[in-house]
């Protein structure tokens, strides 16, 4: 790796042109970076990739020639790379862990207790209460004067609408806090950003938002409803 001759003065004279050429190359590459930023010839990911690549090229050029690693013993390169590798490792680890913190913008649990009423248009899946019993509509229909059991099926619990809105999440967990009203729901949103869900679930007992705990995860970060 040392690559030196017996005449150090001659070696240094040869290096003058190496240093000069390298300096010109560094200036040219920096110029290209700036021009790319001004004219935006590609999309952002490509531009960032180009900036990344040109920085690595310049970095290597300086340490290899200006800092004489090309001509020095390899132990110097190893020492420097050791620090560089640890720095890069720290960088990527911290970047990985620093994902956006999830924020629960809305979390509501409301019991659906709409009384059945004549003349109302019902859609398939709608829930009503009729004489203290919960029903689920089997089809789209308009309620007649009398309650028609053919259009309704008895609900196997008390319907509650659970609504949550989260800025970013890859996992959502909802747990019941009361042992007599067991409930557990797990959701892995396909689109992690702006998760907005409103769905009906059947519970054994009437409940409110305070009876549940919402836990949200985004990569390494967890957030929990109060």
């Amino acid at each position: 790796m040392s690559g030196h001759s017996d005449d150090p003065v001659a070696d240094e004279s040869k290096r003058f042109f190496t240093f000069f050429n390298l300096s010109m190359a560094l200036v040219a590459i920096t110029g290209i970076e700036i021009v790319i930023i001004y004219i935006h010839p590609f999309g952002s990911p490509i531009i960032i990739g180009v900036l990344f690549a040109t920085s690595i090229v310049k970095f290597i050029g300086v340490i290899w020639w200006f800092m004489h690693l090309k001509w020095d013993k390899i132990i110097n390169t190893v020492l420097f790379l050791l620090g560089l590798v640890i720095a890069l490792g720290t960088f990527f680890a911290v970047i990985y862990m620093a994902d956006t913190h999830p924020e629960i913008e809305k979390f509501e649990v409301t019991e659906l207790k709409n009384e059945w009423s004549t003349g109302t248009e019902y859609s398939k899946g709608d829930y009503v209460v009729h004489k203290g019993i919960y029903y689920k509509s089997k089809e789209n229909h308009k309620a007649l004067d009398e309650f028609s059991p053919d259009s309704w099926a008895k609900a196997q619990g008390i319907p509650h609408r659970i609504t949550y809105k989260i800025n970013i999440a890859d996992l959502v967990e909802i747990n019941s806090k009361s042992p007599g009203n067991p409930f557990f729901h797990l959701h892995r949103p396909e689109d992690h950003e702006n998760v907005n869900v409103s769905d009906v679930f059947l519970l054994a007992r009437s409940a409110t938002t305070q009876d549940f705990r919402l836990k949200v995860r985004s990569e390494a970060y967890w957030t929990e409803s109060q």
């Binding site: 930023i37 720290t90 970047i95």
Partner: protein
């Protein structure tokens, strides 16, 4: 200057055959990599998770002066050439050339620092776009903290390098400078080039990236 050349100047060497001073400098530069690595990581993380200010997306291009920063980048790159030539000159025993190259490096380093002082002053007092350590446009924001700490730490490194070189320049006028000082000047050069490569990373990552997004 290679390690073998250093031996000709009777530099004390470690069992690895590398002069003590040089191996110490490389170990220091390796540790300084970690230092700047954490500062750059911190800036990028907070840039990512604090991307808004006052309800709007943070667009720091309103305040950046990319022409000035590009100019100071070219200046710093040019200073590295002077530094490499200074090391080359002292090894060849050409004291006059060494002196001129050291002088060139100091001047270019000082210009870089002047640009940074102007830039910071301009940022802090930009009408309507003030970027302070804790605010941007009067709203609390972390961008100023990570930006000033990172670029300020780099600037401090440049300032230390300028004073170190200034010491060598003054020493060159005492008549005691000789090729035996080549290893010391080379260590100074390693430090200077390191400051240059840190800027090679900071310039695209902190400045140009803002224009790429």
């Amino acid at each position: 200057m290679s390690d073998a050349h250093a031996l000709e100047h009777h530099e004390p060497v470690t069992s690895t055959g590398v002069p003590n001073k040089k191996i110490l400098m490389w170990a220091f530069l390796g540790s300084d990599c970690m230092f700047f690595g954490t500062l750059i990581s911190t800036h990028l993380i907070y840039r990512k998770i604090s991307g808004t200010v006052g309800g709007n997306a943070l667009d720091i291009r309103d305040i950046f002066d990319i022409e000035l920063t590009s100019f100071s980048t070219f200046i710093l790159l040019a200073s590295s050439l002077f530094m490499a030539l200074a090391v080359s000159a002292i090894h060849k025993g050409n004291l006059k050339s060494t002196r001129w190259m050291l002088f060139g490096t100091i001047i270019f380093g000082a210009i870089f620092l002047a640009c940074q002082v102007y830039e910071f002053t301009h940022f802090v007092h930009a009408p309507g776009n003030e970027l302070t350590l804790s605010t941007y446009r009067g709203e609390p924001h972390v961008f100023g903290s990570t930006f000033y700490v990172l670029t300020g730490t780099h600037g401090t490194h440049v300032a230390i390098g300028v004073f170190w070189l200034l010491g060598w320049l003054v020493y060159s006028f005492t008549g005691r400078m000789s090729p035996a000082d080549a290893m010391d000047i080379e260590c100074c050069g390693l430090y200077w080039h390191f400051v240059d490569i840190v800027w090679i990373i900071i310039f695209p990552v902190i400045y140009l990236m803002e224009y790429a997004m």
